[in-house]
């Protein structure tokens, strides 16, 4: 008898349906798998054999052929175990009368028949729902992320026995209840601005960067709190919408880094080490293409500490995703596009010894050393960083007045207001932040007063800016004006925007 069970495999962030066909024939006992299974899928043979035996079911001593259709896609991973087991049971007539129609089975089996979680479950469920499937049997350990998929019957099972009882109708599993999405349910990886001492300029730069979705570079001697400041970024970013959260969760699920709560409710904050390779940064893999750090940072912050220490090629690879908000990775296994709209926050020392420009320490670097150090970060990359701010080691006592330290939530309120203005402004343009503006939007929304234009021209000549940098200054000025609640871009906004380009040297 032939049995057909539907399972899913992943291609990038998309689920692809795979039919597991099992035929049990009379003949010399054999157990074959065809249809381009990879090693982990082939090994399911032994897991399924043991799991069946240890769940008190029979493993048919016949000639068994299992086919994975369509045969031209390579099947990866252990998520097929459950589907193979169920189809074997059905083909060997152990599931007579069971209702298997339109049900997708996903899960890895342990030898004792327990179900183990699989990675990338949420994107599979979303795709399968789109393909018209509405019933899913999944490992109970994956229930957390599956809860957020509404409009489907999802049955979380702990063991193979439970699955069999469920489909036979002897003991139904309770379907999952759809969970309500709560943005920023629990902030665990972001710091609060109220713990940052001093640094009024850097705080301001942080606020502008988040308000307009701009990229940020912090330059300062070691130990001045650059990392601390960067960690505050997710906390002042706008809350995630459910769609954003779902998209981020899909990426994290495919990469297998999803936390216990099952959905990413907080903006990601990724800090790849400076030894990271281009592939780990952008995504890649041998056969299956995995998302890289920039995709994991989608919707959040990619923090590159000590920017000049990163490999040049790795940094250059960021240029195109920074512009496009997505990355297309081509591998032997196929071509996959991952979203990668992240906010880049980088930090660096002003010179190799770190003391250049310091108030009380002398820099021991030669001009040539400083030049070589700064050259490690290429001009085109710097050009894409709208805000460049110095973080200094100003001693706290130097500020006499009792400075009012704002909390992240106070800053976030202002950011939300500025973002709302932008959402309103770009409602027809298909973008959402000032940083995403192209030439057309700049012309439409960033009219400069005559005086502002004059200032910009002066700055342009003095600082020998590139055309791209000019556009970026205007965008930042637009954001500053939004924070100010001003319809027009006034001279003070332009001046402030200019002051955040310390690396385009003033002549």
């Amino acid at each position: 008898m032939i049995a057909k069970i539907v399972c899913y495999c992943l291609n990038g962030l998309e689920g692809v349906p795979v039919e597991v066909e099992t035929d049990v024939n009379k003949g010399i006992p054999a157990y074959d798998m065809v249809g381009l299974p990879d090693t982990a899928v082939k090994e399911s043979k032994e897991r399924v054999r043991s799991a069946l035996k240890n769940s008190g079911m029979l493993f048919p001593m016949n000639k068994i052929t299992i086919n994975f259709a369509p045969a031209d896609i390579r099947k990866e991973g252990a998520a097929f175990d459950l589907a193979v087991a169920v189809s074997l049971l059905k083909a060997s007539e152990q599931l007579v009368g069971a209702d298997l129609k339109d049900t997708v089975f996903l899960g890895e089996l342990a030898l004792n028949g327990d179900l183990r979680p699989v990675s990338g479950l949420l994107p599979i469920l979303i795709s399968a729902k789109g393909h018209g499937f509405s019933r899913f049997v999944i490992p109970a350990a994956n229930a957390a992320e599956a809860r957020y998929l509404g409009g489907a019957e999802i049955y979380p099972a702990c063991t193979l026995t439970e699955v069999v009882r469920h489909v036979m109708g002897t003991e139904r599993i309770l379907p999952l209840e759809t969970a309500e999405f709560v943005p920023h349910a629990e902030k665990k990886n972001s710091a609060d601005l109220k713990f940052v001492k001093g640094q009024p300029l850097a705080r301001r730069a942080l606020e502008i960067a988040v308000a307009g979705g701009h990229n940020l570079l912090m330059v300062g001697p070691p130990g001045t709190g650059k990392t601390m400041l960067a960690r505050c970024l997710p906390g002042i970013m706008p809350d995630l919408s459910f769609d954003e959260a779902l998209e981020i969760t899909k990426i994290h699920s495919v990469a297998g880094v999803l936390g216990e709560e099952g959905i990413v409710s907080e903006r990601p904050f990724r800090t790849p080490h400076h030894t990271a390779t281009t592939v780990s940064m952008c995504g890649g893999g041998n056969r299956v293409v995995h998302p890289g750090e920039i995709s994991l940072a989608h919707g959040g912050v990619l923090f590159l500490d000590e920017l000049p220490e990163y490999k040049r090629s790795t940094l250059e690879a960021l240029r195109q995703p920074l512009e496009d908000g997505k990355i297309t990775v081509s591998r032997a296994g196929g071509t996959v596009t991952f979203p990668a709209r992240f906010m880049l926050c980088a930090s660096m020392n002003p010179c190799p010894c770190g003391n250049y420009g310091s108030a009380n320490l002398t820099c021991s670097c030669t001009p040539a050393e400083i030049r070589a150090y700064r050259k490690k970060v290429s001009g085109p990359l710097l050009d894409r960083i709208d805000l460049q701010v110095e973080v200094d080691n100003v001693s706290y006592d130097e500020l006499v007045s009792t400075e009012k330290r704002e909390t992240s939530s106070q800053v976030k309120e202002r950011v939300d207001v500025a973002r709302n203005i932008q959402r309103h402004r770009f409602s027809q343009s298909g973008i959402s932040t000032n940083a995403e503006m192209g030439e057309r939007e700049i012309a439409a929304f960033c009219a400069l007063t005559e005086e502002s234009e004059k200032i910009l021209r002066a700055a342009f000549e003095r600082m020998k800016l590139s055309a791209r940098a000019r556009g970026r200054i205007i965008k930042v000025a637009r954001t500053i004006a939004d924070l100010d609640g001003s319809e027009e871009i006034l001279p003070k906004h332009v001046y402030e925007a200019v002051s955040y380009r310390i690396y385009d040297k003033m002549g």
Binding site: P200, L201, P350, T366, A368, N393, V400, I455, H493, S499
Partner: protein, 326 residues
């Protein structure tokens, strides 16, 4: 001038020794062969490089009267600048930002009356050169052949000088810069100029060597005053102690030569700018946050105001969000 071309390709010391050995330079010609001389002249013509010897009429008069004038100078650019009145500005490679800015402004203003002579190094020299370029008549003396460039990163700066002003060197094509070349070059810098301004100099700085050459030649020496204890200014303060003129801008130099500078036009300032500038002038170098506090404005407004003052050349960034007035 041919006779010195013949020495091309020889080491500096060797060349001097050989020159001393012969009574008439023409004798050298036969030694090196006319073919080589022809090649050299052709290259000079091709690359628009001229040579001026001690015997030539437009050899700079002041240099001729210095203790050890070079016998031959190679030059590229505007030859007529050789006859201009020259003033030398030098500074060490590590120069505080305020001194760089001031050097630049001073060079620019001096350019109205002088051709500003300097080197090509980072720091004080490059700042003065930028100012001189803005002023219109920069003169740069190289420690290597006219085709060389040290530091290599300043190749484009050198090209700009060649186009707008004058490049000079006593070394023939292909000569690499050696340590002692810099000292020899400094004697030309001091020799060309009526006076020398030292914008910054540590205890043992090349800028001090230039100042000493100037003193040996009986020229005036000016220096910017620095904070006591600042390593990059010890040499300058030492010069002032020993009797150099204290200069805080082009006006002091003009005054020393009895020149009247054209009146500087007043830059219009907004009330906020005036307030920030007053705060800065009261206390020297200050952090932006402190400025904001004293001027009683939000930090981000202070940042904007400082940027506008910077564009107006009234304030300079000293690194680490600190600013000074100039």
């Amino acid at each position: 001038m041919l006779w010195l071309c013949a020495c091309a390709g020889l080491e500096y010391r060797e060349r001097v020794a050989r020159l001393r050995a012969v009574s008439r330079p023409a004798e050298l010609l036969t030694e090196s062969g006319e073919e080589e001389v022809g090649r050299l002249l052709a290259r000079m013509e091709r690359e628009e490089v001229f040579a001026v010897s001690l015997l030539d009429e437009d050899y700079p008069a002041l240099l001729k009267n210095s203790p050890s004038p070079p016998l031959l100078l190679f030059g590229a650019g505007r030859r007529e600048l050789l006859k201009a009145r020259m003033f030398c500005i030098v500074g060490s490679r590590i120069t505080p930002p305020w001194a760089e800015k001031l050097a630049k402004l001073t060079a620019e203003r001096l350019s109205r009356r002088f051709a500003v002579v300097t080197g090509l190094a980072e720091g004080g020299d490059a700042a003065a050169l930028e100012g001189a370029l803005a002023g219109g008549s920069p003169v740069c003396v190289l420690p290597c052949g006219i085709d060389g460039c040290y530091p290599a990163a300043h190749a484009s700066l050198k090209e700009r000088v060649r186009r707008a002003g004058l490049l000079l060197t006593e070394y023939p094509f292909g000569t690499q810069s050696k340590k002692f070349h810099f000292i020899a070059r400094n004697r030309i810098l001091a020799g060309l100029a009526e006076g020398t301004l030292v914008v910054s100099a540590g205890k043992r700085s090349g800028a001090l060597i230039t100042a000493n050459f100037a003193l040996d030649g009986g020229r005036d020496v000016f220096a910017f005053p620095h904070n006591p204890g600042a390593a990059q200014g010890e040499g300058c303060n030492e010069l002032i102690k020993k009797g150099a003129y204290l200069a805080t801008g082009a006006e002091d130099i003009f005054a020393a030569y009895g020149m009247q500078e054209d009146v500087r036009e007043e830059v219009p300032l907004t009330p906020a700018e005036r307030r920030v500038l007053t705060v800065l002038k009261e206390s020297g170098e200050l952090h932006a946050a402190v400025i904001a506090e004293r001027a009683e404005i939000p930090v981000y407004e202070a940042a904007a105001t400082l940027a506008s003052l910077e564009l107006k050349n009234l304030v300079v960034k000293a690194g680490g969000n600190r600013y000074t007035a100039v």
